[in-house]
């Protein structure tokens, strides 16, 4: 049903349609509205057969869904920012144990300094945790991705993280076609686990694996990620058949077939980028944009096929790998290795700074005039940086005072 609804609410109702049996959560902005919504749906009885556990920390939230999934239950949680970091150890375990958990990350910056606003630092910090990572461009996709995430997770026995921009999407009140329950039921069968903890048939999972087999365990997990590259588009195709609108797929190319310059990005900035691309196309410029929906697994082949004709690719990074550039740039460069396509990196929208059309036009102007550096920051306040550098140079380091015993 098409409704004007808050993004968090749309996700909560969609997750409820997926009939999770265990939801375990701890509140943190900007994710809280999602689990509050689910809590209400469980309490009202609209989401039947679900145990809702309000736990004492994110570490507990992830631990509970690990336990639930290990017994064969469909399990869900959501978090953001410091909350994701707090559960990190368990996040890696969920992947290592091959548990088909679905978790929403309402993307938010990581402190210090404390910042509640949107960027991708939190989920990018979990790049190598072994979960699939899918990024939503808008709230329709955020809702739809959850339905597909449960399917993919359960077919592969791997956890899936659905990343949606905090506030920009979670708190945006817009039109979403929330999937109908009967269609979700048709698309997503009841949970079937390959591996279930069952007292009648006892097994041990997550035991110590030594040097003789640890590499093979990791290799097998990598194979399942490779398998996801085939499965995600297949599931998206089925999604289209059942719901009548396209599923997620691995990438989202927009007007980049004949483009000489393509901006690559993940998440909600793709909407604003789409408008900018249209405006420049009207001026006859051959520009396009490519959204990466599946960041893990990384669809290198699909990206190479989509970007092969471009002379220049600009990767818009919503997080910064300090001391390097951005993680997405590294991956895109790898995908385009051996081609003549130039890849430049632009860090944009950290800690909630809006990525505006004016700034994006400026970026593409600099690119067209040859003034865009290999690595730069969008809208950097150079005056503030210089002032701080000068102040830092002026401050003499203080001798540490000796503490009397």
């Amino acid at each position: 049903v098409r409704r004007q609804v808050e993004g968090s609410r749309a996700v909560a109702e969609t997750v409820a349609c997926c009939r999770p049996q265990v939801v375990s959560a701890y509140p943190i902005s900007p994710q809280t509205h999602i689990v509050e919504g689910l809590s209400r749906l469980v309490k009202s009885g609209e989401l039947a057969g679900c145990t809702y556990l309000n736990v004492e920390s994110e570490f507990a939230a992830m631990s509970v869904v690990i336990g639930a999934a290990a017994t064969g239950a469909r399990a869900y949680t959501a978090t953001a920012s410091q909350g994701l970091l707090y559960m990190t150890e368990a996040v890696f375990n969920a992947a290592g144990l091959g548990l088909p958990i679905v978790m929403t990350v309402a993307n938010r910056a990581i402190g210090a300094p404390i910042n509640i606003w949107n960027d991708h630092s939190d989920s990018m910090s979990q790049r190598d945790c072994g979960w699939l990572q899918l990024y939503a461009a808008d709230n329709q996709e955020a809702a739809d991705l959850h339905v597909q995430a449960f399917r993919v997770a359960e077919e592969l026995s791997l956890p899936v993280m659905v990343c949606m921009d905090g506030f920009v999407l979670t708190h945006a009140f817009e039109e979403v076609d929330i999937p109908d329950q009967d269609l979700v039921d048709r698309f997503l069968p009841a949970m079937r686990s390959r591996q279930v903890l069952d007292p009648d048939h006892p097994v041990t999972i997550g035991t110590m694996v030594g040097p003789e087999a640890f590499t093979e365990v990791r290799y097998l997990a990598h194979l399942r990620h490779q398998e996801a590259l085939r499965l995600i588009p297949e599931v998206a195709g089925e999604f289209l058949k059942v719901f009548g609108r396209p599923g997620a797929g691995l990438i989202r190319p927009y007007r980049c077939g004949d483009a000489s310059t393509v901006v690559v990005a993940m998440g909600s900035v793709l909407g604003t980028l789409g408008d900018v691309i249209d405006e420049r196309r009207e001026q006859g410029q051959a520009v396009g944009t490519l959204g990466i929906t599946s960041y893990r697994p990384f669809p290198a082949e699909a990206i190479r096929a989509a970007l092969g004709n471009a002379a220049r690719v600009i990767v818009l990074e919503r997080s910064l790998s300090l001391g390097s550039n951005g993680a997405v740039t590294t991956d895109v460069r790898g995908a385009l290795a051996g081609t003549s396509t130039e890849v430049v990196s632009v860090v944009a929208g950290l800690g909630g700074r809006p990525v505006t059309k004016v700034s994006l036009h400026g970026l593409l102007d600099r690119s067209a005039s040859g003034a865009l550096e290999t690595f730069s920051f969008l809208d950097l306040d150079q005056t503030a940086v210089d002032r701080e550098l000068a102040r830092y140079a002026d401050v003499a380091p203080r001798q540490t005072q000796e503490v009397s015993p």
Binding site: N118, A172, F173, E175, G271, T272, G274
Partner: protein
């Protein structure tokens, strides 16, 4: 795309106002988007929210920087925040004030003698009378509908009652209806900026 920026103070319902306006447009079969200026909102602190209304799907996600209309829920903000920043030359202004714009002492550029584009309504007083609480959102949307014709008062009322069910919604709808009638009457008499 018609862009609206709503200024208020934390607790006055700027987010609710933006959602009700977006819902009113949606109910008319149009596309709409509402979102808050995400901050560490505290009760009483200056806050803003944004609405876009369009006949085609809306993709852009930047804050509204060049509004076609500005709604000011708290007149004391006029001296604290540049509420008219980026307002389009032919843009509309709705101010919640017990007094008219001359008294407010901060005029938006070229709006002093333009009642077609500016209105002050005592939305707080009207809200207290209908709802029993100083929550001016719905009343201001009634004035907005009358001034701009971007959405109809019928849609505003339907949106208000969908967002705020029961008696609260009915009371808010009554407040919206009163301000709408005030502004329509003012327009037909061709009189002053204050409704």
């Amino acid at each position: 795309v018609f862009q609206v920026r709503i200024h208020g103070r934390g607790g006055q319902g700027v987010v609710t106002a933006s959602e009700m306006l977006a819902l009113a447009a949606f109910l008319e079969g149009r596309h709409a988007q509402a979102f808050p200026s995400f901050g560490s909102e505290r009760t009483g602190a200056p806050v803003a929210s944004f609405v876009r209304i369009s006949d085609s799907p809306i993709r852009v996600r930047e804050p509204v920087m060049t509004p076609d209309a500005v709604i000011v829920q708290d007149v004391t903000l006029l001296h604290r925040v540049d509420v008219f920043a980026g307002l389009r030359p032919d843009g509309f202004v709705v101010i919640n004030s017990a007094h008219n714009i001359e008294w407010c002492d901060v005029c938006p550029p070229s709006r002093e003698d333009d009642p077609e584009h500016l209105v002050c309504v005592n939305a707080t007083e009207i809200a207290v009378r209908h709802i029993g609480r100083p929550v001016p959102s719905a009343a201001l949307l009634g004035a907005f509908a009358a001034l701009t014709d971007v959405v109809t008062i019928a849609s505003v009322i339907e949106a208000v009652q969908e967002r705020l069910p029961g008696k609260v919604g009915a009371d808010n709808a009554a407040a919206a209806t009163e301000t709408h009638q005030l502004v329509v009457a003012r327009a037909s008499s061709g009189d002053v900026s204050r409704a």
